[in-house]
Amino acid sequence: MLAVQVLINALVLGCLYACIAIGFSLVWGVLNVINLIHGSFIVLGAYLAWGAYQWLAISPWYALVIAAPLFFVFGYLLQRLLLNRVITAPVLVTLTLTFGLDLILNNAMIYYFKADYRKLTLSPPTGSISLFDVVVPVDRLIATASALVLTGLLYLLLRRSKVGRAIVAVRLDRDAAVLMGVDVKSIYAIAFGLGAALAGCAGVLMALIFPISPLTSSAYLGKAFVVCVLGGLGSVSGALAGGLLLALVEGVGSTLIGPAHATTLSFVLLIIFLVVRPQGLLGRKGFE
């Protein structure tokens, strides 16, 4: 029974991890920027959900609808005004720039919200479903479903819409995309905006599950890193596969060899993947 429970836990958690990572993966894949501000975006999204519920009594489901456009605009402007200036610079420069941005956003959140932990508690509490001896908490289930819907929407967007095709084109071959008449600058900004919007939405969902504090941003960012590398960059299905694999490894690892080693295990896995299979589980070769 324990094995089934661990498996179910991992399945649910894996979808949440995918949700955390997907915006990060999109930005990395398309812009070739490691977006260190991603973790703070998620926390900001969580605060948005918390504030909306606490002060305006807006339920997190609606907060999701508010967060997406807000974060999109924020991300779009940030890319257009700041990141775009160094987008052609070496890896190191873009990385350090997003690090600086993260310092600012995180400090602003500590200053404004203080560092103590908040918790969004829905009333009435949603409880858990149990089947035989296996228990699944309802709020996680809902968050997982929403995460799946979000990833599905992104998948459709990238597959079906004109902008989506352009984003994919830029990811696959920037120069060719330019030749085909794609406005790369605006695609970059749109992709970054989408990444921010996904982070904001992920934050809203995480608010249901985890305590909220500016200090958790590095934990989210760490998960995003691992998921991305495990699954493969820039692809929606890759993020899902990476999330599930990470959750499974952590769950099984913490049961078999103790919770203290779960994090070590996930990072060792990351290094092994980088060395042996840098394109990730589902990625194609040629992105590295």
Partner: protein
Amino acid sequence: MVQSRLARYARISGSLLIAVAGLAGSASLASAEDVIRFGAPLPITGPLAPEAVKQQMGYNLWAEEANKAGGINVGGRKYKVEIVYADYQSNTPRSVQTTEQMITQDKINFMFGPFGSGAAKAASTISEKYKMPTIAASASSSQVYDQGYKYLFGTFTPNDTLTTPLTQIIKAKAPEVKKVAILARNDLFPLAIAQEMEKSAKANGIEVAYFEKYAINTLDHSGTLSQIKSLAPQWIFVTGYTNDLLLIRKQMVDQQMKAAVVTMIAGPAYQEFIEAAGQSAENISSASWWHPAEQYAGKDIFGQTSNFVKLFRAKYNSDPDYAQASAALCGALFQMAIEKVGSLDREKVRDELAKMDVVTFFGPVRFGANGQINSLEPPVFQIQNQKAVVLFPDAIKQGEFKLGVN
């Protein structure tokens, strides 16, 4: 070529120096006469930031009360209290640096220790070097005090004074408790207290069925908790900070874990834990060094414990917890020692602290030979109906221990 480059560097560094000097000048504090400066290095940013806020509240409350009364009376002359804060970014070596900076640059008179046992221990080396009387408001591990230092004092009793009474109560009230599962955050204080728990469980004939640590940034505990659930312990003992404990408690409810006794340290001592955990906090037991329900007739500036609670509520609109009270106590102790000797001489104040034997709003205060307080009886309490109810010591007992956490 070299000359032009050197000249360039000289110019750059010159202008930077001017900028630095300007900034430093604008920020330097006007040092008025008749002020006693207390240095308080705190982890204002970084992972320990929530704890810094608490200590700051305690120090500020004391400073405000002391200044309201005209200041500290030193041989007939009134001195205002000024607390010099600095952020050490939750980084222990930085706390050492900050301590040295405060002593040598900011010319403080006395020192409050940085947060927690690790930083307090590291910084105590500096205070000892400069012979600076230091009171640590939140260091409990006896390793901190066993260094043989003369100038370090601490207001928390050793960790085992928390776990031993707890175990004894549970043994007496819940004889069906045979197995305990211990889950600890891999961090100085939470891990140390979990190890004490393991010892006192063994000493009282309770089997330790599970003992594991979790990493500091753990986001999910479901695997661990499923495993604990499958072992069916009657007592689940978890240590960590408020965020960890909230998350673990939530996941315990999610997984429908039930146990006769659930103990969490240090979360339930904080009002925000009780509020955030809501219904799920019911019947969780804990222990801490102080509780607002205590009633002591203090000889310090705050007097009765209830008076301290009242002043705290008036200023912050919330109930004080042990961390805030301990910080305020540190100030009050310095004030008593300074007023008694009527001098700001560090040696004299240090000697006075060492032989202090007095009742305060926090409880009786007497420091052992190593500088750690040895006169306190830390209370054991349980959350009942969204309120902390004291179970021990008997003198301030408010209710009976209740079994069953769902």
